[in-house]
């Protein structure tokens, strides 16, 4: 799991870097995202740019625990508890427009796949239960 956790921490760190650079430089994420995941991130960053939005501030991975492991397929799914309290949504004018209804503590269910000896983040699923974190 440590490899998957390392990938996820890198992912969160890069999300901050790209976001704070006004959604530029997401190419760096191609190194550890599956093609589908990279495409989803790229589209999201582009959509935010189109609306003149970007985010600032660090997110914190407070918990990372395994959910399932498939040894034959080389896949891992984990619960990731992410604290978004310090992350703010900023509009073109520099105004904080973070949705009031955004939960600050969010549970994700990232899935990873081993490919060519590398652990790739394949999907960032969401989890609506509140018992994990």
């Amino acid at each position: 799991m440590s490899k998957a956790e390392g990938v996820y921490k890198r992912y969160l760190a890069d999300l901050r870097k790209v976001s704070e650079d006004r959604n530029k430089g997401y190419e760096r994420m191609r190194a550890y995202l599956s093609p589908a995941a990279f495409s989803a991130e790229a589209q999201s960053f582009d959509a935010l740019s189109k609306k003149g939005l970007h985010t600032v501030g660090p997110s914190e991975l407070s918990k990372f625990t395994p959910q399932t492991v498939d040894v034959q397929r080389g896949t891992v799914t984990a619960y990731a508890c992410v604290d978004l309290t310090a992350v703010r949504l900023i509009d073109r004018a520099g105004k904080d427009i973070t949705p009031l209804s955004r939960p600050n503590q969010q549970t994700f269910l990232p899935s990873f796949v081993l490919s060519g000896g590398k652990m790739l983040l394949e999907e960032n699923g969401t989890w609506s239960g509140d018992s994990v974190c």
Binding site: T68, V69, T77, V87, L109, G125
Partner: protein, 279 residues
């Protein structure tokens, strides 16, 4: 897509350890969300516990029932565009204190999130007119209904159940001089119980029978009256709105429209009266 499906654990050792620990929750219950959108609070989150927005099946009601016009002679419905302050208060009420909120609320209704801009016009074409939520409010047909059980009466100290019947509706009409369709989708419900108390919910509620509950038990939209008397109950349904011209793509409009049902009289009685004079 792996996360959405139950995974087989092929190693017996891992199976012993992991299945024992995670058997009850071995699959994701929500859609995928990009990290970029998650940070912005723009993800769509599934809700397995009933706290998400309850979007009902679409009912198309065209023709005379819901036809409206943007001209002065048009038939106005009961719709009213909510102010930004009302929307923010609504989101607070629906989303906070409810565990996981259907984050769709914030995307669809939050006035602070810019709506998707219309597609760029074809070269040489006229730019699309700017349509606001106020332009669409008048199209809202009076299709919502309030149901109560017991029907027309309640007992002090005992839950009375209320629910709204408000499916999505598509209305044909004329918008800024062009034939258009406007689609309304229920997003939230505010029940005003007539005794000064109210409840805002992301769900419309249901009858005791539909919920599989005993009569006179609490439901997510029920209310317990504390004093006898006659009250007038109504429900305000909050809709998101989209429009389209000539069968083109649906275009979302920031904000929301609300429509309120006519007040329904409920006689609140004490238990002894209820047993002898139920109506």
């Amino acid at each position: 897509m792996v996360g959405r499906f139950r995974l087989l654990i092929s190693s017996s050792l891992l199976a012993c350890v992991l299945v024992a620990a995670y058997q009850e929750t071995a699959y994701a219950d929500g859609p995928s969300c990009s990290g970029a959108f998650a940070r912005a609070g723009l993800c769509t989150s599934a809700s397995s516990d009933g706290t998400g927005v309850d979007v009902r099946g679409t009912t198309t009601r065209g023709g005379t029932d819901g036809t409206a016009s943007s001209g002065s002679g048009g038939r106005a419905g009961p719709g009213r565009a909510l102010t930004d302050a009302e929307l923010v208060a609504l989101l607070d009420e629906v989303c906070f204190g409810n565990g996981v909120c259907g984050i769709r609320d914030s995307v669809v209704l939050n006035p602070r999130i810019p709506a998707q801009p219309p597609a760029d016009p074809a070269p040489g074409a006229e730019p699309a007119p700017v349509i606001t939520i106020s332009d669409l409010a008048r199209f809202l047909p009076a299709t919502a209904a309030l149901h109560a059980e017991p029907d027309g009466w309640a007992v002090v100290g005992v839950p009375a159940n209320f629910w709204a019947d408000a499916g999505a509706a598509t209305v044909s009409g004329e918008l800024l001089g062009q034939a258009a369709e406007v689609r309304f989708t229920p997003q939230a419900y505010r029940f005003d119980y007539g005794d000064g108390s109210s409840r805002t919910a992301a769900m419309a509620g249901s009858s005791w029978a539909a919920l599989g509950q005993e009569e006179l038990t609490d439901t997510p939209t029920s209310h317990v009256y504390r004093a006898r008397g006659a009250v007038r109950v109504q429900v305000t349904v909050v809709y998101s709105a989209q429009y389209r011209f000539a069968g083109g793509p649906w275009i979302g409009v920031a904000g929301a429209v609300s429509g309120t049902t006519p007040p329904q009289r409920v006689l609140v009685v004490v238990e002894r009266t209820a047993l002898t004079t139920p109506a």
